[in-house]
Symmetry: C2
Subunit: 211 residues, 2 copies
């Protein structure tokens, strides 16, 4: 198909497609003449993936490039690709003066949660540090908050994610799609959670009060 068809079918403007081509996020089409090229379904698929990462994952182009390069590196197992996804989704927070003891305590909380469920998670996983930052912010905001209430989160996540991963094909040949799938399911849960929140906040606090 021509670039105009690629644009129409993907919903991505021609100028944006040309930009992705220049930035080597999208491989070149097959030249058919001076200033003319045709594109295949692989281009369409890749364009859809880039859109998922940029619009729904809200990743910048540097992160998308890193993710796509990882996916194409056949030496890396699927686990390594998820690892890169987690790194770009949870950029390491800058260490903040004065919060190191609280952060160390929060890291111990994360260890406990992971161990309690028997999860095998690398000690240097980006997500561990990110979760610890979140937990220490919780403690600063509400002094009496304890991470015990997260046990239920851990159990729910274990059940939902086990099923997601078991539903992947035995040898996912389209590794980029597998990673995008998991990013989309994470975002779907986050949105569903906010719908639940609208309902329950309104149930508890909204009775008879006008918006």
């Amino acid at each position: 198909m021509r670039i105009s068809d690629l644009s129409r079918r993907s919903g991505v403007p021609v100028a944006t497609i040309k930009f992705y081509l220049r930035e080597h996020l999208l491989p070149p089409g097959e030249r058919t003449g001076h200033n003319q090229a045709v594109y295949g379904d692989a281009h369409l698929h890749r364009l859809q993936l880039i859109r998922v990462f940029t619009t729904i994952g809200q990743l910048d182009l540097t992160s998308v490039r890193r993710l796509l390069a990882t996916v194409e590196d056949d030496r890396l197992p699927l686990t390594g690709i998820y690892d890169i996804l987690n790194q770009v989704l949870a950029p390491a927070a800058e260490p903040v003066a004065g919060e190191s003891p609280a952060l160390a305590e929060a890291l111990a909380d994360v260890d406990r949660l992971v161990r309690a469920e028997g999860w095998q998670v690398r000690p240097d996983a980006a997500t561990r540090a990110h979760l610890a930052t979140v937990l220490s912010a919780m403690r600063r905001l509400a002094g009496d908050w304890t991470p015990d209430s997260l046990d239920e989160y851990v159990k729910a996540a274990d059940r939902l994610v086990r099923r997601e991963v078991d539903e992947l094909p035995p040898d996912p040949s389209d590794r980029a799609a597998a990673v995008a799938h998991s990013l989309l399911l994470g975002e779907a849960y986050a949105a569903i959670r906010r719908l639940a929140q609208e309902h329950h906040v309104s149930r508890r606090f909204g009775e008879g009060r006008a918006l």
Copy 2:
């Protein structure tokens, strides 16, 4: 306390605090002399909230300003504040040429999920449209995917969020803290989900393979 103490206790650099003061995100301190002012615990608390919104919520200053202004508007009930939070967390995706039938179908899927659980969610809630965008991207990536598998997400979210909301004080006087709390818990779940993913992907695909 002086601005240097405020910086030390919050971990936020003095230059950033001065920037927030200039931008009226932080109310001025009490003047004690030429070029001198003292700050109280309310300033520290507000600084911690701004940090939660910017670093963990990854919101830009325009969104933070909008959220804080909403929190201080006593005419708005708590439900209205969550609504603004959901709007800034799920910016409306630009409509994309050619995807409107798929998007309409996805919106019908969202309606079904919400109705099945008996949730009361406003028809124009920002999160509905956001979830529909996610679901239509899922369908584009995997033609045989159906939203039936989200029933479990809905049930898990209902259970976890009901408890979160019921644990808020009967009349949360610190409404900004309530909203920050809910943002942090959402991020905590997202991080826990990624830890579960690392474990289950490695369990299924990582055996004996080096990272």
